[in-house]
Amino acid sequence: MCCISTISTYINNRLDIKFNRLGHKVHHFCHVTLALFTCNGCGVGFPTPDMQRRHMKTDWHRYNLKRRVATLPPISAEIFAERVLQQMDATRKNEEKLSIGGGNKKTLRHHKAPSSVATLSVAGDDLDSVIEDESIDLAGPSVEYVASNAARGVDGEDEDEDIDSIIERKLRSAVKLPLSACIFCSAQNFRDVDDSLAHMQHDHGLFIPERNYLVDLKGLVEYLSEKVSIGNACLYCSFIGRSLNSVRDHMIAKQHCKIPYDTEDDQLEISNFYDFSSSYPDDYEEEDDWDDVASGDESPDDDGSTVQVAGGQRQRRTETNLVLDPTGLELSLPLSRLRIGHRSLARYYRQSLRPTTELREGQGTVIAASSRQILATVPRDPIKDRLTKKEWRDQRDKQNRDIRREQRYINQQKHYRDPMLGG
């Protein structure tokens, strides 16, 4: 209520007092305005640029802009105010009807105006709901979309919402996109799916991967359109829009009108609509009736046509079928019994060990009986060892002492030896 009065006051004030360009106050009558700063969208004028600028920021002006887009004539401030009042009443009633508890919404998550609006603190969506009365068939989706939005109340900016409530909301606001409609834009007049796909490819750059193996085209298109229309999710990234339009805008703006197919998860996502079985190698059979052969690699009826891989699975040998051991260190060649070892174990394969000869009975007996072998196993006597070691040490010390003692006398010669005469 206060807002309305504010508006009317504002309007009245502005209408009454006018300033000319030079800044002089100019009196004028009510509806005859000497409007030097105009807003053509709303059909109003302002004496001062400040007022004009302030007007531009209002909801009323914005609403008029929308009306202009929808090729509707602008409405005056009073009518706007009325409509707002109506809208608020309707919202409050609906809120009472619906669940009270889980009605927290994210308001204006992505469309919040940078500057706070002092006037109408209503959600921008509510402006849309006002158009409802006009009952002009705008782009079809908008109409129904509006209906769902009306159900929403005006709420604070609660960020946390349950996933269930999100899903519920999405489902409620879901727009049924026909199959032959474009997912990304509002073009609808296509004869069939192929036509719409051609349009999407041509105009938006949508390319369907692995077209050859696609089995269920309609299912895929339906899935994608549901993803966008119900879930409001971008196909390419993880963006979730508040509405179909928002996600569409996002996809077009960011050029995300493509189906992701790079990672395995992406491929798995749409794998239901494909059938790659024709690309499998020939004669590939999973021999499910083979039991794990516990007794080594060779089974009694092994004819070399199957390979026992260490995991217990048997795989049929084919010309192209290289079977890799689960450890990754052994490769079974096709069509032969050869197994290739990995190069990381090369040093073990290169070992050339002394061939162990199996001893015959005679040889074994002789070797066992030979005293040389047995004597070696006689345990050493530690005391005796210690004594012998001590002996050696003493002997060595004595030798060292003798050598050192000799050094003193080594140059002492009893008689002179003349070097020339051979000394």
């Binding site: 002394r354 009975e361 005679g362 007996t365 002789v366 070797i367 009986a369 040389r372 047995i374």
Partner: protein
Amino acid sequence: MSLQEIVVDGEQTADTKNALISLDSPISLKYVAAGRIAQSVLSHLVREVTEQRMRNVYDICHTGDSLIELETNKVYKNVDEKGVASPTTLDINNCVRGYSPINRDSAYILSDGDVVKISLGVHIDGYTSLVSHTLIALPTIPRTEQVSPTTGVLADDICATHLATEAVISLLGTVLYRYENQSGYFGNRPVNGERIREIVESVAKSFHVKIVPGSSVRRIKRFLVGQDTVHEVDVKGYAWGSINIEAMTDDPDEGDLKKMIDTEAPAEPGEAWLVDISLCTFSGLASDLSKKNGLQVSRRTLKPHRDLKPTIFTRDYNRNLSMKLKSARSVLIELDNRKSVYPFHLNSLTTPGAPLGVAALVNSEIVAPTTVMMIQGSPAPIAARERTTILLMSSAKHIGEVVRLSGSGIKPSWVHSEFEVTDEEIIELLSDKRAGVRLRNIQGTELDVVKDDVQEMEIA
């Protein structure tokens, strides 16, 4: 000394492989089979020599080995290791051991009056029977026309050898019985190496002959019959000189001998024993009956033959080396795969270049040669040799008996010696009663030998 023939239980020896319970046990049967073959071949060869059909030593040795191979192949088909345990050697006069020529041309030809010692050995699955017999190669006149027995030192030698062997066999047999005296042993003393030594030396002394080093009376086991390359730990019996003839020294009390053989341990029932006694005349030797040597021929006089190279070799399984020489490698492979632990003759190897390979192996001491040993002296002394294998068989059912695997049944040469045994105990052992010992002799069979086959056959 009366005797109670009490059943001796089949005591198992420490080596249960040699549990000779009765003549029916599989081990005994193998021994007996080996003995029979050895005996058969030996009698055949003796007949060949005495009937003067063969005079070339190479022929005789070759025949002997071939026959052994033939006969062993006929029996025990599933047994892998069998055949020649000791290649046939013909040692003449003062040659003591190891002469078996490689080729016919350079072989010795027997002449009249040569003292020939035929030695051979057969084994089946390791159960060995070794035999040696000494005979005099008679002059061309047939034996029946021999007017008088041979006399002289030769006679003494042969007699002494024969009697010594018999006495030792009887002595070992007494182990199977319990005597009425305190200890239950024959002569109140256990039968061990020392006792055996006494008896042999007593006989040698009586007949004025000397004991050749290398003679031994010892207990044998499966695969272990005193090969040069095997240094066994627990050996029972007695050996003159050394266990290993190659390592002999002059001193009979050499430490090596004491370590190698246990002369105190008594013989026990259930064992197999090898009696190998070689005595020689010492007319040509410097009569050194000094205390040091005693009745043993001095080591200095026992020497390898100057010219004759060894032709018999034994693989030493304690050594394993990789050889560079290709022929050595192939010979080694053949030895390890086809030959057993017994000595083999060079001719029995089939790989080409065998002599070269074997020479290399001998160098690396992987293979030990059996050198041809001679007793030096002038005039050259003559050695006689007798070798038998016996089983001391005890059984619960039957009364124990000594089974003489080979060496019996061949008529000794007609000799007459002026000496005789003086020791009473020995007389009792040598008597017909043998101090109560029952002796069973394994007889040889008639071999149907086709001469052409034998001579052309290669010794496998």
